[in-house]
């Protein structure tokens, strides 16, 4: 898709030189990390000292290391990966990274003249890497030639990956400087993109599919261990809990959008239903209901109420196909917000205190375990948000369980059939209406469940938390991450919640940036970051390599 496409003749003629170009470029970037980038030691960490890489210099060295590895791979030419494509992505993101970093240094020290040699060396290295990528020929990836490792080794790969993930997440959250965060982000995108571009991603997916259980276990272990890396600090844990709530809700939405293929634009109303039920049945002084059952009961009531609303608006609208559902759900979202706004005793029964909402919701208390106070486990203090984090992690596990098991069952097959050809599905005896309604109700149920916890974690509910924009963001998380996958939504939710927290400098342009991001995504990767393979096929009917890949996976699974 890059416009800088060299002719095939040039590639063949220059082919043998490309690996050395990549290795040289990588080496230059590695060396640049050891050089000084600016005389000014007050900006972007301390990048003025030679032979003492910090922050940005380390990222440049990582770029270099990866380029050297890909260069060596280019020499060896394994049949199952295409380092050329990886080098192209790596090189271009490295240039973007350096332009951003050098530009920032020049801006902060007022002038390009204030740059030291390191930055320029790195830039030359990045250009060489890009050139190498464009000069080397693409390899048609042969997925049947993936190396078969012993299962211990494969599990080893998974553990290394997961450990890297935990370290990266903890590291990312601790970056305070906006400029460094942005450069780190570009570096991560470049390195992950570079690796995936080589076809390595397909191989990782293959390894992951071979070791589902160890992978799941490792993933949850990483998630579980995360609060222990925070030393009792609640700042990052608050972001983490927000991400978890958001992810769990978006995953519920993904059942509706990704699996059943229905467009729901008012999904946040179900989250709100759960939250309001949670608040009204809590022992808050402002609660309007006299009944305060244990929290487990509250959760069930909240979820059941949301599911009932789902059934009520789904029954008449799911019978008609097309965009009607989107419009009706959009309307329902607004009705919900306005109803909560007005049920204050003046215009109807006093249920929600109107615009004031229900504040002062007490923290949860499970059998004497108070969620509001700090607990210490293995010498590490865990604050209030850590407590909620663990509860939300359980919720997320439950939602993932529901999602994956429904997907892999008679019902999931029915949903796929409906997405592929609704009329044919009906003619083959699939209960189209029933399955759509089920998706709608299950989605609403899960959102309601999340809502009851959210009410306690936020300590208050009010109508302005559940506006259309929130529904749009949930949908964006699903579309951005990948319709129909768990991993995709987790990635999408993390990006959409983490970026605004970390990039406060550009917070005013948040919507503009997300809008642009989505437009770019729709142009270049409409199936999302971590797509469902079948969904991807639906978007790219002509991609024979992809068809082959999916086919190979099916054949492998059958064995």
């Amino acid at each position: 898709m890059s416009k800088l496409r060299f002719s095939d003749e040039v590639r063949v003629a220059q082919g043998p030189r490309a690996p050395w170009l990549a290795i040289t470029g990588g080496a230059l970037m590695l060396i640049s990390g050891l050089l000084s980038w600016s005389f000014d030691n007050r900006i972007l960490g301390d990048i003025s000292v030679r032979f003492y890489p910090a922050g940005i210099q380390l990222y440049a060295m990582l770029f270099g290391l990866l380029a050297v590895i890909l260069g060596v791979l280019l020499l060896r030419r394994p049949p199952w990966m295409s380092p050329a494509r990886g080098l192209r992505i790596l090189g271009i993101t490295a240039i973007v990274f350096l332009v951003w970093v050098l530009g920032s240094i020049a801006y902060k020290t007022s002038g390009l003249i204030n740059l030291n040699e390191g930055g320029w060396v790195a830039l030359v290295g990045a250009v060489l890497i890009t050139l190498a990528g464009h000069l080397s020929p693409d390899v048609d990836i042969n997925v049947m030639k993936w190396p078969r490792l012993s299962s211990t080794l494969e599990i080893g790969i998974i553990i290394v990956l997961m450990a890297t993930l935990l370290f990266t997440v903890a590291y990312t959250l601790n970056i305070q400087d906006g400029v460094i965060f942005a450069s780190f982000l570009v570096a991560i995108i470049g390195m992950v993109g570079g690796l995936l571009g080589t076809g390595f991603g397909g191989y990782l997916g293959f390894v992951a599919a071979n070791n589902r259980r160890p992978l799941l276990l490792a993933a949850f272990l990483v998630a579980f261990l995360f609060p222990f890396t925070q030393n009792g600090s609640d700042a990052n844990m608050s972001i983490a809990t927000q991400i978890l709530i958001f992810a769990a809700t978006a995953l519920g939405l993904n059942i509706v959008v990704g699996l059943a293929g229905l467009l729901d634009l008012g999904y946040v109303a179900f989250l709100g239903t759960g939250a309001y039920v949670g608040a009204m049945l809590s022992s808050s002084a402002f609660s309007t209901v006299g009944w305060h059952p244990p929290f487990v009961v509250v959760m069930l009531v909240g979820a059941a109420t949301a599911a009932t609303f789902g059934l009520i608006i789904g029954t008449p609208t799911l019978r008609v196909s097309g965009d009607y559902l989107a419009i009706v759900t959009l309307g329902f979202g607004e009705i919900f917000r306005l109803a909560m706004f007005n049920l204050d005793g003046n215009n109807g029964p006093d249920l929600t205190n109107g615009p004031n909402g229900i504040p002062a919701i007490p923290d949860l208390n499970f059998f004497g375990f108070d969620f509001g106070v700090e607990h210490t486990l293995a010498g590490i203090p865990l604050g209030r948000f850590s407590n909620y984090y663990f509860l939300l992690l359980l919720l997320l596990m439950f939602v993932i369980l529901v999602f994956t098991r429904l997907n892999d069952s008679r019902i999931g097959r029915g949903w796929v059939a409906i997405r592929e050809d609704e009329r044919a599905a009906e003619a083959m005896g699939v209960n189209v209406f029933g399955l759509k309604l089920l998706a709608f109700a299950v989605g609403a149920f899960l959102a309601g469940l999340a809502g009851t916890i959210k009410a306690h974690q936020d300590t208050s509910v009010s109508p302005d938390q559940y506006v259309f924009l929130e529904s749009a963001f949930l949908l964006a998380a699903v579309v951005l991450g990948g319709m129909g996958t768990v991993m995709g939504v987790l990635v999408g939710a993390t990006i959409l919640k983490l970026l605004p927290e970390k990039l406060r400098e550009v917070n005013e342009y948040r919507l503009l940036i997300f809008g642009l991001l989505l437009v770019v995504m729709m142009r270049f990767r409409p199936e999302g970051l971590v797509p469902n393979k079948r969904r991807q096929l639906e978007f790219h009917e002509e991609d024979t390599e992809l068809v082959e890949l999916v086919q190979a996976e099916h054949l492998h699974e059958a064995k």
Binding site: L401, V402, R405, L406, S409, R410, I411, R413, G414, V416, A417, E420, D421, R423, A424, A425, E426, A427, M428, G429, V430, N431, V432, L438, V442, R534, L537, E538, V547, V550, Q551, H554, L555, E557, A558
Partner: protein
């Protein structure tokens, strides 16, 4: 399943009446696509439906299977009147294939057939999430039955192929397997050999005999006259939405009205001259 591939016409009258369509009429605004067509199909019988393009054959199928709601007329299966809803029709025991293949392209052959089992299985959301023994048993049975059907139509080796990757002829047979998965009593095939080479057509004919011999009734729309006259016990010819002739292959073949309808009558010849 023992298979006897005979072409001997099953004595229709001695078998039980399965499908009866009475006075089916379908109007789209001013256009009458199907005009007062009646048809009876008995157990173990193969009925052919022929007619020139636009005669209303597929529309008639759509009326039978509930995909269209007929303007007038009644369709009964085993004496019970069928509501014009595809779901109810399939559950009652009538399955169909499509003229323009409508497989679930991005699912494997096995998954396609497993979708066909949907209406004969029952595990719902909670069972699917809890994964109890009943769910596992049903899932295994579904898989096994789907594999059995793929073997039956001769696709036993293509189980894990994506439907979109299969050769055309195999796709048509996969559609038949998917329809058989709904445990029908009567199978409606809409141009099952369109686009097939002679060898594949031959195989399809044997497959249809095999299905008939297992006790199903079959209704076939087809343009390949040799195929239809070799295959069917009885043939109906539709022209401009109306039932023109009904009879044995021999009778229909020699009927001058049928020949006229296909090749054109005197006045039409003049026009084209």
């Amino acid at each position: 399943m023992t298979v006897t591939e005979t072409k001997d016409a099953a004595p229709a009258e001695s078998h039980q009446l399965i499908l009866e369509a009475t006075g089916v009429t379908m109007r789209f605004g001013g256009l009458t696509a199907v005009d007062d067509v009646s048809m009876k199909v008995h157990e173990g019988e193969i009925v052919g439906l022929i007619g020139p393009n636009g005669a209303g054959k597929t529309t008639f199928f759509n009326c039978l299977t509930g995909m269209y709601i007929p303007t007038e007329g009644r369709v009964t299966l085993n004496g019970d009147t069928l509501p014009p809803k595809p779901l109810a029709v399939v559950r009652a025991g009538m399955a169909r294939t499509f003229q323009n293949i409508r497989l679930f392209a991005n699912m494997t052959a096995l998954e396609n057939v497993m979708v066909g089992r949907y209406c004969r299985t029952s595990s719902m959301a909670i069972t699917s999430i809890l994964r109890g023994p009943k769910f596992r048993r049903e899932e295994a049975a579904t898989r096994e039955r789907a594999q059995e059907l793929l073997d039956y139509v001769g696709l036993g080796r293509s189980t894990e192929l994506l439907a979109r990757n299969m050769p055309y002829g195999d796709q048509r047979r996969l559609e038949i397997a998917r329809a058989l998965a709904t445990d029908p009593q009567i199978l409606l095939l809409d141009e099952p050999t369109a686009g097939m080479n002679p060898k594949e057509t031959e195989e399809t004919m044997h497959l249809i005999f095999k299905i008939r011999d297992s006790g199903l009734a079959v209704v076939v729309i087809e343009h390949d006259m040799r195929f239809i006259f070799n295959l069917c016990d009885r043939v109906l010819c539709l022209v401009r939405g109306q039932l023109l002739v009904e009879g044995t292959p021999g009778e229909v073949q020699s009927d001058h009205r049928v020949i006229e309808a296909y090749i054109g009558g005197d006045d039409e010849e003049e026009e084209s001259a």
